[in-house]
């Protein structure tokens, strides 16, 4: 199975932040082909709430709230532990499709990842 799940230690956050900065300079199409994309959990919302990435991309969620959040796929494909402030969770999307997810601590927080070929 090519799907990978990993918890990113907080030490690596600066690196991830640098990658995000690089992505932000690219065009939207290029961004979709980049290897890593970040979703923030902030003020009880996922931002961006809807994200399109190319197959093979790794998406990283980082919690910027004082309250923990989780990232749990509706289909059961991926499930983070409770992410405390500044902790991250990453998942690599290999198969095209639409993936919805929820914070199980605050179920109003929902998001979607669309994976294209």
């Amino acid at each position: 199975m090519s799907l990978r799940q990993l918890l990113v230690p907080s030490v690596q956050l600066l690196l991830l932040g640098a990658m995000a900065a690089v992505v932000s300079y690219a065009t939207a199409a290029e961004a979709a082909s980049e290897g890593s994309t970040i979703v923030m959990a902030k003020e009880f919302m996922f931002a961006p709430a809807a994200l399109t990435v190319a197959a093979g991309s790794t998406v990283t969620w980082t919690n910027r709230d004082d309250e923990p959040h989780t990232v749990v796929s509706d289909s059961g494909l991926f499930r983070s532990a409770a992410l405390d402030t500044n902790e991250s969770f990453s998942f690599r999307f290999d198969k095209p499709g639409t993936y919805r997810y929820t914070c199980t601590i605050h179920p109003r927080m929902v998001g979607t990842i669309v994976v294209r070929q």
Binding site: E43, F44, D65, D66, E67, P68, T70, R79, A81, A82, D84, T85, T102, T104, I105, H106, P107, R108, V110
Partner: protein
Amino acid sequence: MQDPTPLTTRRGALKCLAFGSAGTLFALAGGVFTPLDLAVAADRKGTAALGKPLFVQISDTHIGFNKEANPDVTATLNRTIDIVNGLPEQPALIIHTGDITHLSKPAEFDQAQQLFSRLRTTEMHTVPGEHDTTDPTVTEYFNRFGKASGNKGYYSFDHAGVHFVALINVLQFKPGGLGTLGGEQLAWLADDLKGRSASTPIVVFAHMPLWTLYEPWGWGTADAPQLMEQLRRFGSVTVLNGHIHQIVQKVEGTVTFHTARSTAYPQPAAGEGAGPGPLKVPPEQLPGMLGVTSVAVVKHPRALRLNDTTLA
């Protein structure tokens, strides 16, 4: 001249200060749970009027939380335990209405259990909060507290003529965020209540509120109306919840709803701010916003009374 109430004595006033920040004590009077002040309960004269405390409700201890809103949740839980242990008459039971831990980590559960072991009252009944069920396999809570329910999360028991029902509403959520009980649990409850006399006092406890307090923040349980339908015929029903880290109470017919304070940190009132996160208050205000609830049986015909106490 004797002071008419314990609270107006110097000793009473000191106790009032001492209890300013810790919890809630409940008694059931005339079929209705009424909140009382723990400072009154701590006074022997007050206690005589109250009867023996039946149980104390502790909620939202959030062991593992260490942010600005309360960097030391262990200290505030210890303070709460001191207050409960200091009651002139020990309650028969402790009820914990969930969010024992902050992040469902084994070490947090272990620490919580170690802290609880200091309670003089050893019989504790629990339900999980959504913070207790975030581990990948949802087993940490059940490995420690699942025995009473056969790992289902819901169960009932009787004590001193009162029927207690523990419900779980944090495993499935409705789109939008309200908790749910689910058909299986409701069917179990119907069976559990069948044949019970309507005069049996009922205490129902669950983590998330069993009535809709504020839907945008998921402060409610979607299928709670079906639960209330089952409880309607009983003459005295007390519904105890946590989750929102503040006291909200309402009485509807024979049903008293009450949410307890947290022992860890307060949360904003419904709709104030971005979401239901930790509320930062000046340190001197914190103890007054944390606490426990105590419930006593007061007299015959059997009656329960509720009393909220803060740590201040």
